[in-house]
Symmetry: C2
Amino acid sequence: MPEVIIGVDLGGTRIRAAQLDHHLNILKREEMLTLADHGLEPTITRIKDLIRTVLPEDKTRVRGIGISAPGPLNPMTGVIVAPPNLPGWHNVPLERILHEQFDIPVFLGNDANVAALAEAARGAASGYRHVIYITISTGIGSGVIVDGRLLLGREGLAAEFGHIALVLEDGRVSTPEKEAAGPALARRARMLISQGQSSVISELVNGDLDSVDGKIVGQAVAQGDKLALEVVQRGGRIVGLGIVTLLHMFNPEVIVIGGGVSRLWDTLYPPMIDAIKSYSMDSAYWQELLIERAGLGEDVSIIGAGALVATNGGVEDLTQVLQTLNG
Amino acid sequence: MPEVIIGVDLGGTRIRAAQLDHHLNILKREEMLTLADHGLEPTITRIKDLIRTVLPEDKTRVRGIGISAPGPLNPMTGVIVAPPNLPGWHNVPLERILHEQFDIPVFLGNDANVAALAEAARGAASGYRHVIYITISTGIGSGVIVDGRLLLGREGLAAEFGHIALVLEDGRVSTPEKEAAGPALARRARMLISQGQSSVISELVNGDLDSVDGKIVGQAVAQGDKLALEVVQRGGRIVGLGIVTLLHMFNPEVIVIGGGVSRLWDTLYPPMIDAIKSYSMDSAYWQELLIERAGLGEDVSIIGAGALVATNGGVEDLTQVLQTLNG
């Protein structure tokens, strides 16, 4: 019987697990609610239960278990530090817990890094060796593939594009996440409206500005609302300025952009590409650059968790591993 | 007879060449003036002549010739594009020219990347696997070692820290090089003086503000001049903000800083480390980070050119290569 890989996506709302083959095709898939508010132990029990449902009868066929989890986490030690959407989780040694349970190698990766592996393995960056994945959602995360290998850094803290330093027009130092993630777009829309600017957003929330979120801003964009368009365009420009930095530091072949905010692509993209073209040192940085929307949808974390196992935690060359598997 | 490596440093003023052993020790060293203003062909002839003076009699003992050259250049194709300090050089296929001459493998690298390899091999970052080298001089260049391997990117254009996007207090988009390299410090000092601020710089140049350069600013700093101190401190803060971005993207173990402006260390460092501590997402990014001054002096390019050969152009793992060589 051929080897298989177990991929697990630990999210704040749902846990998903799959059995994958060597080519990272999903053979079997199950999911459960995380019930994060029940606390740590019940969720860990659910993770174990869910893994059991996708394990083959012959455990020796399993190459490893890969886990995509929200950061901050340490992929070197396999410890989940303190994710905002998993209350009660503080320095949980998930890798050790699951290894003791199943006696199978376990690899832990943060969700954005894992998604980068997935998109490079089977998604929008398939076949490329120099890849940057950016997700713009309630936060901004990223994952970088440098010449086929996942960029981790000394303690696995690398590739935090959402937190790079950014000086704003008014001299404040901020970050892409604080300016362009969904909550930041909502905050800015609220601020402009409370300063007296008119927007369809006020009607969409019946005047309850506190309930404005990224989705509402997106709805207003869809209706052509001027204020919402400007807010998202500003976000696109800021992400574009950040991408200029990424281009000069990594000279990638492809940038893949995912996450809920990326659904506003038609509004986000023009100011983003304009900033990239305006502020790159040389057109060589963007002329042959591909900018792609994420291609894998909700399977991204499961496939990426599988790729994490296939590359021994991201340390081996993804392209080579896939060629070997497919050869 | 053991294998040797030829390392060449092609600079705007001087060409230096050395024969190195496996451990990157310099066995023999020669240098000539570049005479860049004589044009392309005479300089290429001088490079060939100089290499001959350090070649062993038995050419088969030479593992390869490494060349450190000013960018922009393409390390993949071995072509020097158009360095400002080598007038008349446009798309010169130096790798092919030297390979045809000597029938020995030739590797071309930009000087900042090569210096990063050198510092990681034998200098201030010796033994580390996650290294960023920054040189602050007439420009700002950098080289990055990611988990033992030189970061090159798709076309070898990676690691251009001097050109990352930086928004200033007044809303302008600039770069670290345009704000903190030697000429930028001089420009800012000139501007402040011409606005009426007093500084010892005016006396140092006998009122000829056009002749203010980075060195003059350094002299004024040495005399405790308030304006010069403020100019360099601002540069330190800007470099520090840029380093925040590098820390979040690369999570390095060590940052090595070289170049002429880094001689103003006591003035540059405090605002730099202050920005790093103020704007990092988490102290984990800087708490165990080493920030070191470059350790190799003028031999850096020759040793780095040797390391470029030892790692097959930077694609192999430096630590592993050195362990093999030293083992």
